[in-house]
Symmetry: C2
Subunit: 255 residues, 2 copies
């Protein structure tokens, strides 16, 4: 089985993709999916429209801060403590959701981060037949340190757990793993990143701490379907983590 890391979203993903946007979309996603149905979209407009149609809570950010009228920011720290009741959530942030368009045609698209590292790599190994591609979202089209370091972390676990399945890591897997080793711990890497520095300037230090927690969630968001809302894509996720209550299904059809 092939194992690859893409430092930015590429194309031609055939089998399993783990999409990584540590700060903060793919850290927030498992936190939300543990307790609610989850939609993700790159578009503010689509987020508002789908939320109005289906009485969803709005979570997300632009430049690190929640847009007007949103119930929550994209802060993993806030979202861990949020009382969602029984409402589903639509999440919109700037990088991860945009990257989804590049990978959406893969057979299985999972969202991964340090926060669900064990669960997402277990799921990837369970689902994959030919390839696991760990795809970094980056930041505004440029490579992001925190995503590469997290990709290195997930790749290491795939190699370890995938022993006996002939996992062949390629050069960029070594690159990501080497970068991982260069930092004392994940939080130091997050603090070095541009996204991390933006969050710290906004006083959101706690988000870096939460995003550095390892395997605190067993939720594994998997893309269930995509549909268009006012010309923008909206992605519905289901939980395929082992811990999911009989695998939480994707929210009801909304297209």
């Amino acid at each position: 089985m092939r194992l690859k890391v893409d430092l930015l979203p590429g194309q031609d993903y055939a089998d399993v993709v783990i999409l990584v946007d540590v700060l903060r979309a793919t850290t927030a996603a498992p936190i939300l999916l543990e307790r609610a149905g989850l939609y993700v979209t790159p578009s503010l407009r689509a987020a508002r429209a789908v939320a109005a149609q289906h009485d969803l809570l709005l979570a997300g950010e632009r430049d690190g801060l929640p847009p007007e009228g949103f119930n929550y920011s994209a802060s993993p720290d806030d979202l861990r403590r949020a009382r969602l009741g029984d409402r589903d959530v639509v999440l919109t942030t700037e990088n991860g959701p945009r990257a989804l368009a590049h990978v959406a045609s893969a057979k299985h698209v999972l969202l991964g981060s340090f926060y669900n590292a064990r669960a997402v790599t277990d799921a990837a190994l369970r689902l994959a037949t030919d390839e696991i591609a760990i795809v970094c979202s980056g930041m505004r089209g440029e490579e992001a340190i925190e995503d590469i370091v997290c990709a290195g972390f997930l790749a290491r676990r795939v190699v370890k757990q995938g022993e006996g399945r002939g996992v062949e890591p390629r050069e960029r897997v070594r690159l990501a793993q080497t970068l991982l080793r260069a930092f004392a711990d994940p939080q130091e890497a997050l603090a070095q990143s541009e996204s991390g520095q933006l969050l710290m300037r906004l006083g959101l230090h706690e988000d870096l701490a939460v995003a550095s927690l390892i395997s605190h969630s067993d939720a594994v968001p998997r893309l269930a379907r995509a549909f268009d809302v006012e010309g923008h894509p909206v992605y519905a996720f289901e939980d395929v983590g082992r811990g999911a209550p009989s695998s939480r299904a994707a929210p009801q059809e909304t297209a």
Copy 2:
């Protein structure tokens, strides 16, 4: 002044570019330019044509080995010992020359590696007004460890030597420098890379050793002009290193 590192060739380079292809084009280039006029092309066909027209020596590789009829491979180790007489040389390899097309519109395009690190960063600082972009060639469209580590090395020197000129390093500069620190020395990084492993399988260990030598050359290849030969670009270089004999001029016009 801005300082940036691109892990793969991008676009929109306005001021100074240092193009890096450690294994082996931008290591071989200063070695050749110390003793001969230098042309570079990504095309075998154009290399043969321009060599025939102007009685040039042919140096280069495909899959690590010299193509039929070539005088030399792209081996820095061989080229250091080659007796060129008074003939100029055309060099064709797979990654660096192809990357030239992406950066050719910049004001100054320099070729850099560990081998001419001091000279090329000095020249970049001398020539730059707004930006120094260190651009990694990569390997077949994918990021290459050895180029990123070398970019980190060159960036470190630009930051140090550029003190007082307000050099602002961006995130990928930190990424490259972090990767650099993760290796004991350049040669270890080269040995981890896919290109390095290919060369070692071909028995060319000595090339990794030569490509790891730091600042052994004062030659700084700068793109002087580009012209077309049978539909393919050929790039002529001049030496703008301080050590150049009254700055070695580009070979005579051939277009």
